[in-house]
């Protein structure tokens, strides 16, 4: 990015951070609850962005991982386990399940992963719903407690909001580190050109699996925060609808951009709430806006922003795909014109 837009992005980030920190003092408890939900969903969306935006795999199972994390936390904390252990357990279990699920599933062409994950999500939902002895079935698990941090209770809406925000910050930092590391470069390579990546020694299978499992693990962590946020866990939120919603968040935000999950979750969580004044029509309005958004900027909100920042039609900015399809002659001609 050139200095001008970079400075603008920096200013926006600082303002956003300021808003997030100050928000609880301006909002009523329900508003704070929605913001906490935004933070929790962003974590799940960050996971999906790793799988989809960086490694290029379509996963429709993210809701199942959020659910698994939520149920583990709900079951254990209601039995007196400390929150930290459930949260680690949720993340690690989901990572492991993601690995096991992905291992056979990623050996086939990638749009088939979408189907397998869709089936997996629905199966997990059925288990949540039917196995009453474990999950409480449709009656769910109530009175999920909120944790204490070093003696401070996170019970109040404001305290728990900061708790969620802190987790979001940690997850963001970790993800940022991941993307900047050689792993991040390998992910870009395997998304853009898997054959070339292979020839450079990038073990595409392992990296894809890793991206998928990491995305699942983050889903589990998101669920571990969801349970004490809502304090009631039942199967309904973890059906296919949430997976589709998370997918929507990533694509609307701009799949592959670092801040896509934040924006996308804003759209998916906050927009319906802002539309509530339309009463019965709010979901319709939201759906319509999403459709229009996709028609107008298919590469997502950040994709649109990126296009506005980068001037179009720079002569040297032709992609290699363009030149190789156009053939060597076109390239030679452009060389002559230089």
């Amino acid at each position: 990015m050139r200095p001008g837009p970079r400075r603008l992005a920096g200013i926006i980030l600082v303002l956003a951070a300021g808003f997030l920190l100050a928000a609880p003092f301006a909002f009523k408890p329900y508003g704070i609850f929605i913001l906490s939900m935004w933070a929790v969903m962003t974590i799940a969306a960050i996971g999906l962005n790793l799988t989809l935006g960086y490694a290029g795999q379509i996963s429709l199972a993210q809701a199942a991982f959020v659910g698994i994390g939520a149920y583990i936390t709900a079951l254990l904390t209601t039995k007196g386990w400390p929150f930290w252990s459930t949260y680690l357990l949720g993340g690690v279990s989901c990572f492991a399940i993601g690995w096991v699920l992905g291992y056979p599933a990623l050996r086939v062409q990638h749009h088939y992963l979408a189907f397998v994950t869709l089936a997996f999500n629905t199966l997990v939902y059925l288990i949540f719903r039917n196995e009453e002895w474990l999950t409480g079935g449709i009656y769910g698990i109530s009175n999920v407690p909120r944790p204490d941090v070093a003696g401070w209770s996170m019970n109040g809406p404001r305290e728990f909001y900061y708790f969620c925000l802190a987790h979001l910050a940690l997850v963001s930092l970790a993800t940022w580190w991941l993307i900047r590391s050689p792993w991040g470069r390998a992910f870009v390579a395997l998304r853009e050109n898997p054959m070339r990546a292979l020839s450079l020694g990038v073990d595409t299978r392992r990296y894809t699996l890793m991206a998928f499992a990491l995305g699942a693990g983050l889903g589990g962590i998101s669920g571990a925060l969801y349970a004490p946020l809502v304090q009631f866990v039942d199967p309904t939120p973890f059906a296919l609808g949430l997976s589709l919603n998370l997918l929507l968040m990533v694509v609307v935000g701009g799949s592959g951009f670092f801040f896509a999950p934040f924006l996308g979750a804003m759209v998916a969580v906050l927009l319906p709430e802002w539309l509530r004044f339309t009463e019965g029509f709010y979901l319709m309005g939201y759906a319509l806006l999403v459709v229009v958004l996709m028609v107008v900027c298919p590469s997502g909100l950040l994709g649109l922003a990126a296009r506005l920042v980068r001037p179009a039609g720079r002569p040297g900015a032709r992609s290699t795909a363009e030149t190789s399809v156009a053939g060597p002659d076109a390239a030679v001609q452009s060389e002559g014109a230089r």
Binding site: S181, E192, R196, G201, D329
Partner: protein, 247 residues
Amino acid sequence: MSTVLAVRDLKKSFGGIVAVDGVSFDVTEGEILGIIGPNGSGKSTLFNCILGQLRPSTGDVRIDGRSVTGLRPCDLNRLGVSRTFQLLQIFPQLTARENLILAGQEHKGSMFSRLVGPSDAGLSEPADRMLEFFRLDHLADEQAGSLSYGQQKLLDAAMAFISGPRLALLDEPAGGVNLTMLTSLRDRLKAINVERGATFVVIEHNMEFVMALCDRILVLAEGRIIAGGRPADVRRDPKVIEAYLGH
């Protein structure tokens, strides 16, 4: 001088079509071998079989005496075999330096150490030196997609050599490059062989390029080697002339 690559009786058929029909040859350390032949002679298929992109129908490929037939391209790369593709394949949104870091990073340490270690896997310096060698250092921070076609081809070649491979296979490196860049490319490839002892095999259509660059040349026609030897000899070989001009 040891044999880096040994190909024995390699055959590849697609259904009824035999693309490679029993090819055997060796590549010794430090030599530049050229493979030429008319269109459809099986050159790219041969490469793809050696490099694990395709599974040969029969035959054996050995690197430093070790059989590598049918290994996945990434495993082969980690054994020290690198390649470039006929259709240029660099990563346009990464910078030139980042493309090189990517090309070398999988050879440094374990997957885990690459996660916790420095973000460039310690390769910024070697990448810059390689860019300097290929006279691309002034473009190090430019997005690779904004380089000219010839510059991208040079970058592609640099990517093949950064990990210090035992063997590099270059598929039509001169394709589509203008005359000025061609001299530069040929000069740099020759230099990397002389100064760093890099061993490589080149498939090419551009006769001048191949004759000037390579120590030895093999001629492929209809999936079989019909001639081989020093460039001057091959050029005069009547079988070769016939293969190119037709019957």
